[in-house]
């Protein structure tokens, strides 16, 4: 028996994409294909319909203004990382994006695929959450905005309903003395899945006191998680040994990882704390330098 043949559509309007996704059960959005096509090769089977969203102008547009970034869901990682303004305003988010795969993968991989694939170890997701990003979702009932931190509900599971797709991301402009950082630990220097990822975004006052903090961990729970206790530990003083070790302890406590060949539970919990302090220091230095 030969394999069933998939339909392929490349609509040029959001409404057409929504209609295709709504009408065909099992239809899949194709952004970069670096998760979808790999899963297909590894035996998941081809979907009845691919909806290539890269011909929809809104999904490939990049707009930066004083409010922040509004970026199409299908913009590839390479284009994001090459953008000097994005790199200088959200260096941690840019670095997390650049960590995804090789140069070749970078030419394809998107934030929307990273988010919608809903791997607990997705690198862009903790950084997007740290930066307060929102996903704009289009569907049969119109558009809705979902905070990235509320988007993933479990491994491979998201809030998307039938007919819905992510069309854009909004990333609010950082305050005057604010910046971010993302660090991950992998067993080698390139091309591996995060053992732990940590994204931290800090806003300082003119004197260098931390006014607000967002601390997000990846790969240590079924979804990326914010760590409110670590955030509270960092706020209210300039970054010092005391607040850093309290934040590390909070991240270690919040981490709820699995045991696998990349790391044991105890190791991952410890590293969650270590990366929290390191990312906080980098974000702090960057915020001061702005």
């Amino acid at each position: 028996m030969s394999a069933p043949v998939s339909r392929f559509e490349a609509p040029t309007e959001v409404e057409a994409a929504v209609a295709l996704l709504a009408e065909e059960e099992g239809a899949r959005v194709l952004s970069g294909g670096t998760d979808l096509l790999v899963q297909m090769r590894l035996g998941a089977g081809a979907p009845p319909l691919f909806v290539d969203v890269k011909r929809i102008p809104r999904l490939t547009a990049v707009r930066l203004d004083s409010n922040g970034l509004r970026i199409g869901a299908a913009v590839p990682a390479a284009e994001i990382y090459e953008n000097d303004e994005i790199r200088s305003l959200w260096p941690g988010l840019a670095e997390a994006t650049d960590l995804i795969g090789s140069t070749q993968i970078q030419g394809r991989a998107t934030w929307s695929g990273n988010l919608c694939n809903a791997s607990p170890a997705a690198d862009a997701v903790p950084a997007l959450i740290a930066c307060g990003a929102t996903a704009v979702v289009a569907g049969p009932k119109g558009e809705r905005r979902v905070a990235v931190e509320d988007f993933t509900t479990g491994p491979g599971k998201t809030v998307l309903e039938r007919g819905e797709l992510v069309i854009e991301f909004e990333v609010p402009a950082p305050a005057v003395h604010a910046s971010d950082a993302y660090l991950r630990l992998i067993p080698r220097t390139e091309m591996d899945i995060a053992v732990v990822g940590a994204g931290v975004a800090l806003t300082l006052d003119a004197a260098g006191t931390v006014e607000s903090a967002r601390v997000v961990l990846g790969a240590v729970a079924p979804t990326a998680i914010r760590v409110p206790d670590a955030e509270a530990a960092l706020v209210g003083s300039p970054l010092g040994d005391e607040s850093l070790s309290a934040a590390a302890a909070a991240s270690t406590a919040a981490a709820n990882p699995i045991d696998d060949k990349r790391g044991t539970v105890a190791y991952r919990k410890k590293i969650a704390g270590v990366l929290t302090t390191r990312a906080a220091k980098v974000a702090y230095e960057r915020a001061q330098a702005r």
Partner: protein, 160 residues
């Protein structure tokens, strides 16, 4: 189901082919169009043997659907040399003996050409990172990196 008709530009030539929805660009290049210069290693994005350039971006052709390339430009290893004249990258691969079995070579050359177009004077570390998605099980990489860095030097002299 009827096959999809795709019109695209491959190595500067307008090309037309038929494919199924789930067929990769790699499959169509090799099996449909007989352009076997692009190699298949893993089909899962890990090895870089299938590297091609689509609309100016280096991508793994195993993770591109052929149907996506309608109206786009595709550049493959077959379009790198100018007839019988090799590029400095190709020439340096020969001079350094930067290949053994050769299955990784087209991917490395396509990727290295892209690297040197973006960064005419890469450091060794930059070259290694850029090419980290190209795997070679034979050479140990050193000769490949030397070939790329020497090709960069040759190209800079050529421009000066």
């Amino acid at each position: 189901m009827a096959k999809i008709r795709v019109e695209t530009t491959i190595n500067g030539e307008e090309t037309e082919f038929l494919c199924n929805g789930q067929e990769s660009l790699l499959e169509v290049l090799r099996d449909g169009l007989g352009m076997t210069g692009t190699k298949e290693g893993c089909t899962t994005g890990d090895c870089g043997a299938c590297s091609v350039v689509v609309d100016g971006r280096l991508v793994p052709s195993c993770l591109v659907l052929a149907a996506e390339t309608g109206g786009r430009t595709v550049d493959t290893i077959e379009g790198v040399a100018d007839g019988q004249t090799l590029t400095p990258v190709q020439q340096q691969f020969l001079e350094h003996g930067a290949l053994q079995c050769g299955i990784c070579t087209p991917g490395f050359i396509v990727a290295a050409e892209k690297l040197l177009e973006k960064n005419p004077n890469p450091t060794e570390a930059e070259a290694r990172y850029f090419l980290a998605g190209n795997l070679c099980r034979c050479t140990g990489y050193d000769k490949i990196i030397k070939a790329v860095l020497d090709a960069a030097a040759v190209m800079r002299e050529g421009r000066a």
